[in-house]
């Protein structure tokens, strides 16, 4: 299969995953239970992007405790909890990550 055809098929399917629910779901038909569960979508999806990127290294094995990513992760959680500010959280996490890399 040519790369262009594969790409277009992948693109169409990718787009359909975005369009599918928006087009087909009728909010008035959603039960209160379903709406409650949907409010957990960010909390259910984002960790699956976060955790492997923090806790696994290139060889898919667990990182060691002194990995700079762990420091950045913990600091970001604490600062996020206290500040409730997205930008402060990102910057605090990144700075502590860099501190561990460049100082130790």
């Amino acid at each position: 299969m040519s790369i262009w055809i594969s790409m277009i098929i992948a693109g169409i399917i990718n787009y359909l995953t975005r369009l599918g629910s928006v087009l087909l779901i009728k909010p008035e038909k959603l039960s209160e239970n379903t709406k409650l569960i949907l409010s957990f979508v960010p909390s259910a999806v984002f960790p699956a992007i976060i955790f492997p990127a923090v806790f696994l290294n290139e060889t898919n094995t667990l990182v060691s405790l002194n990995d700079p990513k762990i420091a950045g992760f913990i600091v970001a959680i604490i600062v996020g909890y206290l500040s409730k500010n997205i930008i402060t959280t990102i910057i605090a996490g990144l700075i502590s990550y860099w501190l561990v890399i460049f100082l130790f």
Partner: protein, 230 residues
């Protein structure tokens, strides 16, 4: 300023901090595409046609490792299935839009745009032009992704590896969850899904994201169901 342009700008401002990882990631993606031998046109075209960083990288990596087209298409599609969940959330607020709007705005439903715009939707249910927020956040992301892909294609990996900017990806997603850090039920879902994603990381076709998400959603559903009974 009209409500339309006000919301458009708000979407733009809200998504700005989340661009921190998008810029280096776009450049790295453009550079990787060319390095893996896909050439500038194919590499760039994926940023328009697939328009999803994770899916694009997986697509290229699998093909260059000798996987069949079918495996590459399946994996990049499975990794995208999380959008079905995003769509289900925003569908609650966008049902009054015309089909044309839905067809157009769905193209812009990325992780970052979803994250900031669903927050806006939740707080502004009665705003008739709330979809302009998603238009603003989505278009901003789209434009930045196009520009950075092109920079990566033209200039190669100009982002120094030592900066470890790939770490900003999990960091921004973590920052998006701070509003939930004080809620025990959300913390439960966050840590369950995170734990499962490590366990399932090597599951076929990059299905770990959707598997961890669905199992955690089912778990919280069961939790509430049992609590109601008790």
């Amino acid at each position: 300023m009209s409500k339309r342009s006000e919301n458009l700008l708000k979407g733009f401002y809200d998504v700005l901090p989340l661009l921190l990882p998008v810029v280096p990631f776009g450049i790295i993606f453009g550079a990787i595409g060319v390095e893996l031998g896909f050439g500038p046109y194919v590499t760039y075209a994926t940023s328009i046609i697939i328009f999803s960083g994770a899916s694009q990288i997986v697509f290229f990596q699998l093909l260059s490792n000798g996987a069949s087209s079918l495996v590459a298409i399946t994996s990049s599609s499975v990794i995208s299935t999380r959008h079905l969940l995003y769509g289900a959330v925003v569908a609650q607020y966008l049902s009054k839009l015309s089909i044309t709007w839905k067809i157009f705005i769905s193209y812009l439903l990325t992780d970052q745009a979803f994250a900031v715009s669903q927050e806006y939707f939740k707080k502004n249910k009665d705003d008739d032009f709330k979809h302009y927020h998603l238009l603003g956040s989505g278009l901003t992301l789209w434009i930045i992704w196009q520009i950075t892909t092109i920079i990566g294609i033209l200039l190669g990996s100009i982002v120094p590896d030592e900066l470890g900017l790939t770490f900003t990806i999990p960091l921004t997603f973590l920052a998006l969850l701070i509003n939930y850090f004080r809620k025990l039920d959300h913390l439960f879902v966050i840590f369950l899904s995170g734990f499962l994603s490590i366990i399932f990381y090597n599951a076929p076709f990059k299905s770990y994201i959707i598997l961890s998400s669905l199992i955690s959603l089912i778990a919280i559903y069961l939790f509430y169901k049992l609590r109601k009974k008790a």
